[in-house]
């Protein structure tokens, strides 16, 4: 809870910094604030506190995801330092990002459906603005508009679903709804199930699961790179945590209603994400499709719905986010250098900057799920959870899908080490970025080798 206040306070402070002229110093303050958020929320471990008449519930799940989101935000700020210095007005964007984080924290800790809605809206509204923050760029405008329309559409579904469920059960509270289901099993009106499915559609939009994924590639490609990185990591994590929290606490007992739909959705997402990614020329767009594909893997945990699910989602989102931040950092350096986001821009990077090439290789291997990187263990835990629930078929599909995944991730690796580019000048890396890359690389390996520590948290 205090973490929520701290984040909001930071947001307000950054707005004030413009007025009182300490703009230059705000960057380290924000970084410290984010570290503080991690520490403060970690102190709530095992306390299980309820707030505001049970509107929010900081159980270990919420605490773990709050820490994760704050940490990714910390890494994200390191990644995007240049962007704020050079491209846009510092303070309002800082503030928007911080408010988006507030939304993300609400999304992982709600106990009441109205808070879920509030969280999603707080997060999304900031992002609609940020997606269009490159005002003179046509694509950025398109991205913002598309994102806004689709987002509003999804929220509509979500609200409709919440309303129906409220109409039947008379409550927004997750626990009350769960109790209602167990008490009335057998004679629940069909409208209730309709509500569940509508909420599911709304959430599927947010996590960009097929067939509700069409907005994602264009929005990812059109937005400024750092905003894309933000969407691909923090939003994905928060949305998935919210999705799982909703279904695990509320609807786990009526899996027969939504199980098949999620099953089909997972297969579609895996197939569409992975296969479409293979023929992308732009790395940014490729990462967009890969993020769709990763949503497909994570759906396995929702499908499994057992005691392993929460831990495996936490681990998977962490592993995926860290690897994505690494990839986006390298990509941003490359784009800065050559103003080109195609795979060709990576040609010969193995010679032009071995460290960057190494970092990108590790990120790609981790995303592709090759041991001993964290991404492999993420997939392993998901598969394990799904197999525990007897979901063998979907695991086999996911295995095949990850083979397809190897194809497009390796395209980048092959470009870096095998092809030689027209431009053979060295690539410079700033100190902050170097620091960030070392941090993420260590994490990718450490999370792989000590994954048990993370997985046992939940």
């Amino acid at each position: 809870m205090k973490s929520l206040i701290l984040l909001s306070g930071l947001g307000v402070l950054t707005l004030l910094s413009e007025m009182f002229n300490f703009k230059r110093k705000i960057f380290p303050v924000v970084l410290l604030g984010l570290l503080g958020t991690i520490v403060i929320s970690a102190m709530y471990w095992n306390t299980n506190k309820h707030y505001f008449n049970d509107m929010m519930f900081f159980d270990n799940y919420a605490v773990a995801f709050t820490c994760l989101i704050s940490f990714i935000a910390f890494a994200w700020f390191l990644l995007s330092q240049n962007y704020f210095n050079e491209e846009t007005n510092l303070t309002d964007h800082f503030a928007l990002i911080l408010f988006a984080l507030v939304g993300a924290v609400i999304m992982v800790s709600y106990q009441n459906m109205s808070m879920l809605f509030l969280g999603i809206e707080t997060l999304s509204l900031s992002l609609y603005v940020l997606a269009g923050s490159r005002k003179n760029d046509l694509y950025s405008n398109e991205a913002a508009l598309k994102y806004f329309l689709m987002g509003a559409f999804a929220t509509g579904f979500l609200l409709f679903g919440i309303a129906l469920i409220y109409g039947i059960t008379g409550s927004f509270n997750l626990q009350t709804i769960a109790n209602y289901i167990t008490l009335n099993s057998g004679n629940i009106p069909a409208l209730f199930y309709t509500g569940v499915l509508l909420m599911m559609v709304g959430m599927a939009f947010k996590i960009s699961a097929a067939p509700f994924h069409f907005w994602a590639p264009d929005v990812y490609q059109g937005s400024p790179l750092v905003i894309t990185a933000f969407m691909a990591t923090i939003i994905k994590t928060a949305a998935f945590a919210a999705f799982f929290r909703l279904f695990f606490t509320c609807f786990s007992t009526i899996e027969s209603v939504w199980g098949n739909i999620i099953f089909v959705m997972a297969i579609l997402t895996l197939a569409v994400g992975n296969i479409t990614a293979t023929y992308q020329e732009s790395v940014k767009r490729m990462l967009a499709y890969s993020s769709i594909a990763h949503a497909g893997y994570m759906l396995l945990a929702i499908l499994a719905m057992n005691k392993f699910s929460a831990g495996s989602i936490l681990f998977y989102t962490a592993a995926y986010s860290v690897a994505s931040i690494t990839a986006f950092t390298v990509l941003s350096i490359i784009i800065n250098k050559s103003n080109n986001e195609a795979i060709d821009a990576f040609n010969g990077l193995g010679k032009r900057n071995p460290f960057l090439a190494f970092a990108m290789t590790v990120a790609m291997l981790s995303l592709a799920g090759i041991p001993p990187m964290a991404g492999f263990f993420g997939k392993y835990y998901l598969f394990n959870a799904a197999l525990q629930s007897g979901q063998t078929a979907i695991v086999l599909v996911a295995v095949l899908a990850s083979l397809v995944g190897v194809y497009y991730y390796f395209k980048v690796i092959i470009a870096m080490y095998f092809k030689s580019g027209s431009d053979s000048s060295l690539v410079e890396v700033s100190f902050t970025h170097k620091l960030l890359l070392i941090l993420t690389l260590v994490l990718i390996f450490a999370m792989g080798l000590m994954s048990d520590f993370v997985i046992r948290l939940l």
Binding site: V395, V406, F410
Partner: protein
């Protein structure tokens, strides 16, 4: 503890190398690989010749999932660890007169590969085995991608995806076994128990999940299509690693993680595996006879030899398995030496094509004599190392099915045809213009080849010490399989 040193010493060395300066890299790498060999020999001398697993290191790695870091050495592992740690120094030595770009990364990757290989051979935990199994793929992929031939991009990628494809199904199989084990761990005994408790039909499915992974690695017909291209395109040291040691991972996998885990599955499908292996022997031999590129010829000969080993393993008797064990070591030595010879010829003449070579014998007698001995070793002439293994293998196969043994026996005849043809075309006949100033072996080259020649003849005359190391472990293995 000793096992841990064997695994982590090369890893440490590879980390050091990544930060080393280019020029000194090969010396550091050689020093570390010799140290590793010394440790391996020390382990071999302290090894008790019984069926137990020794030098065990065991601690929990991921207790919530029943995964432990458990490594140890039994007779089967011992031979392969010896093979790995004795070949790697020679592989490094064989590259001394070559100039690779970024030598520190090159040697670092070789040693990382060694780490993974030793890990594969010593893992006593299914999950750990899988991790090392995959880990072995990464360094060799980059060795081939960064220093390979012209078409390396496509070909190494095919190699990577092909092998990954197989191992992912093995992973699903391992998780399945884990979930059916009563102790809920990945420990090898617990997986044996889980496998034995399953009905025959399930074991049959698991058999394929594992067999495909191993068959691709070896490779067994029809999973071999990645192999000739990859061997040809890889840099020589990469080919040596691939053929000398890495393909043994597949056979080792069958021996340790397939036969005893799903005995009923093997009983049902073992015939199919033998038939595939025997087809592979004949098929690859016939193709080898037609080859003009020496490296490709040896690649196909390797498929034939491995086919015989696989057939022997699936015949599931002491002779077949013992033959496989010793033949793995001998094939490692022979194929390493053959690829080195080809590399030397290519360095001297600029070509590997048989049609352009010939007549070396008259100007470089030592070179061609050494080559002759190595060829004879591969052809399995009595009193060379190849004979011991192939004799035992065919003997074992004969007990299983005389017909299969008859076809598999063709390998000796066909092997003689393609090997002697290669020797004849490259060394005998009229002196080719390319060979006019063919140099004799240099000091460094002798340093690599003479020990190989000694090993070829030494093991051929006196194979007992090697056979003794693995015998109790093989018998124990057969006992576990017989429990069903």
């Amino acid at each position: 503890m000793l096992t841990a040193i064997l695994i982590f010493l090369p890893l440490l060395a590879s980390f050091l190398l990544f930060f080393a300066k280019g020029g000194s890299a090969k010396k550091i790498a050689l020093a570390f690989s010799i140290a590793e060999l010394a440790v391996a020999l020390f382990a071999a001398f302290n090894f008790h010749r019984d069926a137990t697993t020794q030098f065990i290191l065991d601690f929990w790695w991921m207790p919530s999932l029943g995964i432990s870091f458990k490594v140890g050495i039994d007779g089967i592992s011992m031979l392969l660890v010896l093979l790995t740690s004795s070949l790697v120094p020679f592989i490094i030595l064989s590259s001394f007169e070559k100039k690779y770009e970024k030598p520190n990364v090159f040697y670092g990757l070789i040693l990382m590969m060694q780490m993974a290989l030793v890990g594969v051979f010593t893992s006593m935990d299914g999950f750990l085995f899988y991790i090392f199994w995959e880990l072995a793929l990464i360094p060799i992929y980059f060795i081939c991608l960064m220093w390979g031939g012209k078409n390396r991009g496509v070909i190494t990628f095919k190699f990577f995806v092909y092998t990954l494809f197989g191992s992912l199904f093995m992973l699903v199989g391992l998780i399945y076994l884990y979930q059916h084990s009563s102790a809920h761990t990945f420990d090898i005994q617990s997986l044996y128990q889980a496998g034995h408790s399953l009905p025959a039909s399930t074991q049959g499915i698991l058999f394929w999940a594992f067999f495909i992974a191993f068959a691709i690695k070896m490779p067994v017909f029809p999973f071999h299509t990645w192999q000739p291209d990859t061997y040809t395109e890889a840099p020589t040291q990469g080919t040596m690693l691939l053929s000398g040691i890495m393909l043994k991972m597949g056979i080792f996998g069958v021996i340790r993680w397939l036969l005893p885990v799903v005995p009923l599955g093997v009983a049902e499908w073992g015939n199919t595996a033998i038939i595939l292996s025997v087809i592979g022997i004949v098929y690859a031999s016939v193709i080898a006879i037609m080859q003009n590129d020496m490296k490709r010829l040896i690649a196909y000969s390797s498929i034939a030899h491995v086919g015989l080993i696989a057939a022997g393993v699936f015949s599931m008797n002491v002779q077949g398995l013992q033959g496989a064990m010793i033949q793995m070591v001998c094939h490692g030595i022979n194929v390493f030496a053959l690829f080195y010879i080809v590399d030397l010829i290519e360095k001297r003449t600029g070509t590997r094509e048989l049609s352009k070579l010939g007549g070396v014998r008259s100007i470089s007698p030592i070179f061609s004599t050494v080559f002759m001995i190595i060829v004879l070793g591969s052809v399995a002439l009595p009193f060379t190392n190849g004979f011991v293994g192939e004799f035992l293998l065919i003997n074992g196969l004969y007990q299983f099915s005389p017909l299969a043994a008859a076809f598999a026996g063709l390998t000796i005849i066909l092997g003689a045809v393609y090997m002697l043809r290669m020797y004849q075309k490259s060394m005998l006949g009229e002196l080719s213009p390319l060979n006019e100033d063919f140099e004799e072996l240099s000091y460094n080259e002798k340093l690599v080849l003479y020990p190989m020649v000694i090993a070829i003849i030494g093991i051929g005359v006196f194979p007992k010490p090697l056979l003794h190391i693995s015998e109790p472990a093989v018998e124990e293995l057969l006992r576990i399989i017989a429990l069903k």
